[in-house]
């Protein structure tokens, strides 16, 4: 059993049931299911289910993006990371993510104007090969499924600590409810629950930080006490947590994930216009950068608060749940719990939805030569959502690694496989399609493969994956140049 799994089961074994927290959680689940039922009635066809009929407006798109973005990694993993290693998470991860959101803003029109549904749709056009769908779909499915496990583990850990219900039971309750409502309403219910969850989450994290700031003498006082605990906590590279080379690799990896996530591409294609696609990234980037600054400061407050109260924890992922249950008053704790659950579960539903879309549209549809009708595809979407959701829940019972460890793995996979070949080809439309496919396969295998080998010679896996993708694209283009005719003339804009 992994360390995380052991900790999870240990946590579930000895807790007392807190009726306030358990009641809050039950009310929350009932509300979510009600929205799922409403979404089911609003979902008329497969376009509604996959991309909201391409009618997402600026407000809904922005908050749906924000809510999807903030995950178990953010609320438990990042606060845990600050607890263990200080503010270096801002340098190594958050800076790259924020740069990525703004970077995507500047190229989003190139994606939206092609008017597809999924990322593999786009890549099939760019390469001229339908084979691109299952190849890319497999990469995206691996990412979405691992992400799903992370979310379920985070939610399970949190809810187990705060309610006292054993982890091995709670994980199935959470998994079951979210599979059910995502299957019912598709992106209609996902987008609307995201709107509620996103606003709730950002507001309550601000409240939580405000409470800790008042309790500990202000934000500057928190930072000074944080530095007193360990000077490396306030060093940009964490006093050795990152090397200069490692931090550059990490920034590239997380920058790339913004461009290569299936759920992000699906949401862009669900917007009602290019203007909305731009606004949701512009506003989302601003909201998220403020949110993450607040969140890591809350992490510092958590570290200082727990230290002062003599509540040190061995597993960093437990830091914030322990703060809620042992440090803050129950009323404040209840508010914070709603915020955290919102963050985790709104990401869970989006990834679950992305899994279903990927299987049906990008893999099943390819192997049936595009002959499946809309009703059949929607049924495949729903069935695959259920199957992959149950499989992820089963994996989350005994997770394969820590939340941050899984988060890093999928960042390396996505960025190595897709960033260079897709976005280079988006602007250089005469790139050889087979070269793009070669680049994707090389990046997808050698990036994560290098990491699995333990990053020999200290060379970061992201560097290896991205380098091999560039090499594959260059060699493939040179070898197969002039062999493409399929997607010529498909370009829309030339800026």
């Amino acid at each position: 059993m992994s360390d995380l799994g052991a900790v999870a089961l240990q946590m579930g074994a000895g807790g007392d049931v807190n009726p306030f927290y358990l009641g809050t959680f039950v009310v929350y689940l009932v509300l979510v299911l009600a929205i799922g039922a409403w979404g089911y009635r609003k979902t008329d066809d497969v376009s509604d289910f996959w991309v909201y009929g391409k009618e997402l407006g600026p407000t809904l798109a922005t908050w749906s993006y924000v809510a999807n973005f903030v995950s178990a990694v953010s609320v438990i993993g990042f606060i845990g990371s600050v607890y263990g290693n200080g503010y270096s998470v801002v340098t190594g991860i958050i800076f790259g993510l924020m740069l990525g959101v703004s970077g995507l803003y500047f190229v989003v029109h190139k994606v939206r104007e092609l008017n597809h549904v999924t990322f593999p749709d786009l890549i099939a056009e760019l390469t001229g090969y339908e084979m691109a769908r299952p190849i890319t779909g497999t990469v995206l499915l691996a990412n979405a499924w691992v992400y799903l496990i992370m979310q379920l583990v985070g939610a399970g850990l949190l809810v187990t600590v705060i309610t006292g219900v054993p982890y091995e039971y709670m994980i199935w309750v959470i998994g079951g409810v979210f599979i059910l409502y995502t299957v019912m309403g598709g992106l209609v219910s996902v987008a609307w629950t995201d709107l509620i969850q996103g606003t709730l989450m950002v507001g309550t994290v601000a409240v939580a930080l405000g409470y800790m700031a008042i309790d500990l003498g202000g934000v500057a006082s928190i930072n000074q006490q944080f530095a007193t605990l360990e000077s490396a906590y306030v060093a940009p590279l964490g006093g050795g947590t990152y090397t200069a080379l490692g931090v550059v690799a990490s920034i590239i990896a997380f920058f790339g994930t913004i461009f290569t996530s299936q759920s992000t591409i699906v949401r862009i294609n669900a917007t009602d216009s290019i203007r909305t696609a731009k606004i949701h990234l512009a506003a989302g980037g601003l909201i998220l950068s403020v949110f993450y600054i607040m969140l890591v400061m809350l992490g510092a407050g958590t570290t200082v608060g727990l230290s002062e109260a003599g509540l040190a924890v061995d597993n960093v992922d437990r830091a914030f749940p322990v703060l809620i249950t042992e440090y803050v008053p129950t009323t404040i704790g209840t508010v914070i719990i709603v915020a955290i659950l919102s963050g985790i579960l709104s990401t869970t539903d989006t990834r679950l939805h992305a899994c279903g879309v990927t299987v049906s549209r990008d893999i099943y549809d390819y192997f049936t030569d595009g002959e499946a009708g809309d009703r059949k595809l929607m049924r495949v979407s729903r069935v695959s959502t259920v199957v992959l959701g149950i499989a992820a829940t089963g994996a989350a019972v005994n997770p394969p690694g820590t939340i941050i460890g899984l988060y890093n793995w999928r960042a390396i996979l996505l960025t190595s496989a897709l960033l260079i070949p897709v976005y280079v080809t988006l602007y250089a439309r005469d790139t050889a399609g087979k070269g793009v496919l070669l680049s994707i396969v090389l990046g997808a295998t050698l990036g994560p493969g290098w990491q699995a080998l333990g990053e020999p010679m200290g060379v970061p896996a992201t560097f290896v994956g991205v380098s091999m993708a560039i090499l594959g694209l260059g060699v493939g283009h040179y070898a197969w140049e002039g062999g493409r005719e399929a997607s010529a003339g498909a370009a829309v804009s030339d800026d």
Partner: protein, 58 residues
């Protein structure tokens, strides 16, 4: 210690993160709101992707 009770280099990383996330907002407000440059809404009606239609040996 400098602003917000943290060393200058760490504060600059925080500031850089805020700026990095806000680049899109700044561009949108300056270019499309203040300067009034319209956004080119050239979304295709039909994504008529021309590929091999499931046949790989094109």
């Amino acid at each position: 210690m400098s602003a917000l009770g943290m060393p200058t280099d760490m504060f600059l990383v925080f500031l850089g993160t805020l700026v990095a996330g806000s680049l899109g907002t700044v561009h949108f407000v300056v270019v499309h709101v203040v300067m009034g440059k319209p956004i080119d809404e050239n979304i295709r009606e039909d994504p008529h992707t021309v590929t091999d239609g499931g046949d790989d040996d094109v």
